[in-house]
Assembly symmetry: C2
Homo-oligomer: 377 residues x 2
Amino acid sequence: MGVVLFMENFRLDPWGHVLIEEYEKLFKFFGLSPTKNLLERIERIGGKSKLYSRGIVFAHRDLDKFLNTVEHGGKAALVTGFMPSGPFHFGHKMVADQIIYFQNMGVKAFIAMADAEAYAVRKIPRKKLLENAKNYVANLIALGVDPKRAVFYMQTNYEPAYYRLAQMASSKVTTSELKAIYGDIEPGKVIAIFTQVADILHPTLEEFGKYKIVVVPVGPDQDPHIRLTRDIAERLGTDIPGLSKPASTYHKLMRGLDGGEKMSSSRPESYISLNEPIEIATSKLMNAYTGGRPTADEQRRFGGVPDKCMIYELYLYHLLDDDVLREIYDKCRNGRILCGEDKRFAARLLRDFLDEHQRKFNEIINVVEDYIELPKY
Amino acid sequence: MGVVLFMENFRLDPWGHVLIEEYEKLFKFFGLSPTKNLLERIERIGGKSKLYSRGIVFAHRDLDKFLNTVEHGGKAALVTGFMPSGPFHFGHKMVADQIIYFQNMGVKAFIAMADAEAYAVRKIPRKKLLENAKNYVANLIALGVDPKRAVFYMQTNYEPAYYRLAQMASSKVTTSELKAIYGDIEPGKVIAIFTQVADILHPTLEEFGKYKIVVVPVGPDQDPHIRLTRDIAERLGTDIPGLSKPASTYHKLMRGLDGGEKMSSSRPESYISLNEPIEIATSKLMNAYTGGRPTADEQRRFGGVPDKCMIYELYLYHLLDDDVLREIYDKCRNGRILCGEDKRFAARLLRDFLDEHQRKFNEIINVVEDYIELPKY
């Protein structure tokens, strides 16, 4: 644990793509532990959650330590960041669900808008970023993130101790290490990396409330950041009082509706935004890739393949409770429901969800600057 | 101008050493202009100064533009930084003299303590850096820097807009450019570079007073920073409103008392600290490298060589007014004064200067935290 270990053919790239079939390798090569061994304990502390019972959050580092702190009434925080580079979609909602789950345990959430990174690495205009950041915060609150238990901040507009941490962290890593993890690095990326390190570590500082431990919910593609950050926390040692190694959890990444890799704002057909007109959202859903057979007849005879189906993935991650989910799954496998009917059912659930969400969003967006301080540019 | 141009055998390295004989090349290859053409105008605005009349500040970029702003009552600022990595010595005093000269024109001074860089690049412990920073600020004020016309700040403890500028600047430069300028770059250096860019450019931002132009007094070894920063100001264009290209001046670097290269805190015999016991300072002076001949007899016959003499350099940069300076110079050249007698004369001047300075310093050091806000670590 804590050792940065890379296999030639299994390098995880936070700015690239991940083979989502390869999760199992994470246990083997990178020292992650499966969450299923902790399931009973998690549910005892935080209540039942589809995130854990369905294995959406499937792995962790030091989550047991984190839970110890929570159980003994110690100050614990969750840290996450959103790159406000495109529309807020169902992939983001899954992270919101995790924030809410931990907040309900009494955990404080530090939520970064990664606008410094989005500007420097993705080259997105500042104006767009500020607009998106407001939009993201309003979406998170509309979904149920409790602003009283959260700190929302822009990477470009925060406290000196946060930047000091990024500056100091930079002295503890070599160029070779960065290259081994991230491949070729441009200056903007170097800054982004240490800003992310500060995002993760800063809640343990006195200036931010001296939290004893943080947990970072990430996709497995972000694990290199986590490993680097854990090493840096150790290397900074006594130079920064109170710094502790972060715990982390790993969630499966929602695949795109188009059936390709992960849901991504760079492919509009791959995601449904929580803010798009319901007609467009519905039409994307109706065009989604499913696990259906070539003909209705074959499907009635052989059944569908829910594990390949993006509609099923929407159910699994977002839209359905256990009992109905099980029912649909069985019906599909047995060929008793065809994709058209199923999609219409999903579309009704989606419409109900979006209706309610957009109503809340429209209230919050007007007052969102009460919750996040935006710079002028 | 503005083009980064490097000759294989004439790369200036801000972290390394510079051949101080090569100043002339700066005009030829790097587009600097000699200050002597502006001398009359400078003295009309700022009064007489040995810095300019003696050619200590020998070159500039856009100083004419800067003086235009000052003459027309526009807001103008000086920017400088000190790496608080060792004792404050006579090399630093020369920069203080420049700050004071510009302050007397009504120019505001922004004075960085480059503690982020000192920690990340020079690996100096934080505790030592905080101690040194206080010491530097107290020395500057004791020398006559007016704290009412100055902003002293730590690189690790400043305003969000300053860090935002560093973050945004990082997106406008490639790794290849950085390598061409600085050679191999570690992550700590990358952070230090963009922090310095923010040091130079931030006073033109609205958040810091919207100064129309800044001037940066540097040694020629710092010119690569200046050229890069000018390019970045241009490239950031409309993304940051108000940003303007910095002007700069170039001063000769005091050589070490030991006759080697520039005065540097890494060679204790090379400098006299403004805070060291007067006996030690005197003894360093008495051991300084001079332009004397091997024997007294030869010196009486052929005269000394003031241009090679470190005592003369102390006179030239710091200790003597024009008339006495001329007299000593002539006496030395004509063999009418030997090095021993001359050193005893210099030692008296040094003692008087240090006595007075240390008295003022001891008053100010007690209240120095009124002038600079230090972080806890």
